[in-house]
């Protein structure tokens, strides 16, 4: 009676079961229940005279569209979508055991990152007593190698052929520790700030491994970086509350838990949170809207208004920018922020969509930032010789130049895009091509500046 050999009907059903089971909202027992229904339907149809394959097709058709079905399941079990943020990361077609495996790997690496901070004390370098500068300078070296290990594992990269990624870390450790820094001095601050930026490129290599390191992969890495920053802040807020409660509760029984917070909770937590945050970002990919583009949408108009207001006030009152020592760094930060806004606006935009009001606003934002920065540079240029070329000032000037080129290019491409002479993809490509420049400059600062400026 059946056109299928018995085995092939079973095969069809098991294909169907696997297909349904991939839906995130439809879980194991539900699949079994639906399969039971399908079998009952097939039996009834074959008894009514249909051939096996026909019965299968009709039964599947009557079950309805799987998209609509999983939407209904998701509505009936809304918690499942939330649960899978934490428990079931990765693509929906990964088998469940690698998901559980991922939880284990991610948490182990987080613990390892926390404990890595406690390794130097074993060799007589406790975390207190004036050793903080050493820890701060090396902060990225405690965490990033484990983060790289996580991504290599996650992307299924070959560990042996990926060993070269250890070289930058070795180099970083060398340059951060062989130079005779004066703690708290200019070059110490520069190394502390620039080493993580330089090494973030290595994390990027690990992140895109298994995918091409072309534009697409880089953009994903940008998205990941932004989400990680947001998750990290959230985790840090939780950590502050946790630490405060720890102190408060032990104080209530007359025990000062400060050493616990200082030597364990804060440093280990800060290191582990990077891994946990990365894991969460990976897990929730594509499940809910990314946060960084939302913040970009909120703050782009506000910053545009701020900059225009600032320029208008300057023009109106004629008051020049007061050149103080840190004014250059302030404007550097402004440019970093604008680059960030442009980058995350780019990351969330459909490159095919035609120009809209928001793109125009981005152009106004970039141009007004460039004008403000130009005014600041002009004010500083006249007096820079007066202050002398310290390490800090040269680094700030270099950074300003790099960001300036980035924004000028972006402004030009935005202009072309708005006038329909160029595509948005060109702007995105420019942003992506420029990314490594920041890390390379940071590496130069780490390697060259301390000896150039006499380790001051």
């Amino acid at each position: 009676m059946t056109a299928f050999a018995d085995g092939s009907m079973e095969e069809q059903i098991s294909h169907w079961r696997a297909y349904v089971g991939r839906r995130q909202a439809i879980q194991g027992p539900d699949v079994e229940e639906l399969e039971g229904h399908l079998r009952d339907q097939i039996t009834a149809l074959t008894e009514a005279g249909l051939a096996g394959d026909e019965a299968f097709l009709v039964a599947v058709k009557r079950m309805g569209s799987l998209d609509a079905l999983s939407r209904e399941f998701a509505r009936a079990h809304s918690e499942r979508l939330w649960k899978q943020l934490v428990i079931a990361p990765g693509g929906a077609d990964e088998p469940a055991n690698t998901r559980r495996g991922e939880t284990l790997v991610a948490l182990s690496l987080a613990v390892a990152a926390g404990l890595a901070v406690k390794v130097p004390p074993l060799f007589g370098l406790p975390l207190v007593d004036g050793n903080e500068p050493i820890y701060l300078r090396n902060a990225s070296l405690f965490v990033f190698p484990l983060l790289v290990a996580y991504f290599l594992w996650k992307r299924g990269a070959e560990m042996i052929s990926s060993l070269w990624l250890a070289l930058p870390f070795a180099a970083g450790a060398l340059f951060a520790n062989v130079y005779p820094f004066r703690d708290g001095g200019d070059t110490w601050v520069l190394t502390t700030l620039h080493l993580p930026i330089a090494l973030w490129l290595v994390v990027g290599f690990a992140y895109v491994r298994g995918r091409r390191f072309a534009g697409g992969g880089r953009m994903d890495f940008v998205r990941y970086s932004g989400e990680l920053a947001i998750y990290y802040v959230l985790i840090a807020l939780g950590g502050i509350v946790f630490t405060a409660f720890t102190m408060m509760m032990f104080r209530s029984i007359g025990i000062n838990a400060e050493w616990l917070a200082q030597r364990w909770l804060v440093p280990c937590g800060a290191a582990g949170a990077v891994i946990v945050g990365s894991w969460l970002v990976e897990a929730k990919q594509s499940v809910i809207e990314n946060m960084a583009p939302v913040l970009t949408r909120l703050f782009t108009p506000l910053f545009t208004i701020l900059l225009l207001g600032f320029l208008a006030t300057m023009a109106w009152t004629g008051s020049p920018i007061k050149v103080e020592r840190e004014v250059l760094i302030g404007f550097d930060l402004l440019l970093v922020l604008v680059v960030g806004l442009v980058l995350y606006a780019t990351s969330a935009r459909d490159p095919q969509a035609p120009p809209d009001l928001f793109d125009g606003m981005q152009l106004v934002l970039v141009v007004s930032a460039l004008v403000a920065n130009g005014l600041a540079l002009a004010a500083i240029a006249s007096r820079i010789s007066e202050f002398g070329f310290t390490a800090n000032r040269v680094a700030a000037l270099g950074e300003n130049l790099i960001l300036l080129v980035n924004l000028a290019g972006s402004a030009w491409l935005y202009w072309r895009f708005l006038r329909k002479q160029g595509s948005f993809a060109a702007l995105e490509a420019w942003q992506m091509a420029y990314l490594p420049v920041h890390s390379v400059w940071a590496a130069l600062v780490v390697v060259l500046f301390p000896p150039l400026f006499g380790y001051r």
Binding site: P29, D30, E32, E33, H37, G64, E72, F73, A76, H77
Partner: protein, 112 residues
């Protein structure tokens, strides 16, 4: 005649509860019973019944239990609870109001 989606969705809860009030049942049998009762006019997409059943279970109107079917496979049977019967009575009263109102206006329309 095909019923509108909204009407099908709105009638799903009282219909399922009423069928379960007749006795414990499972998904496939419920669908069959609906087709039988409506003379084939109420066509549900088969799969859509299950989210409805799960929602009712979560609301406490039905309870579910896995047991063996005649063929020896596991099958999930649903049973109406006390809250479910109360809910059914409430829904029934609501539908009777709707039904009575519509009947009234349609009678007037006919005589007018």
């Amino acid at each position: 005649m095909e019923l509108s989606k909204d009407l099908v969705a709105a009638s799903a809860t009282p219909l399922v509860l009423a069928i379960l009030a007749e006795g414990d049942s499972y998904g496939y049998a419920i669908i069959k019973r609906v087709a039988e009762l409506s003379g084939g006019h109420l066509q549900w997409t088969d799969g859509m019944l299950y989210p409805v059943l799960h929602r009712l279970e979560r609301q406490g109107y039905v309870s579910a239990k896995w047991s063996e079917s005649e063929a020896g496979r596991r099958r999930k049977y649903y049973r109406i609870t006390k809250e479910g019967r109360a809910q059914l009575a409430a829904q029934r009263a609501q539908w009777q109001v709707v039904d009575g109102t519509l009947r009234g206006i349609w009678r007037e329309a006919r005589t007018a």
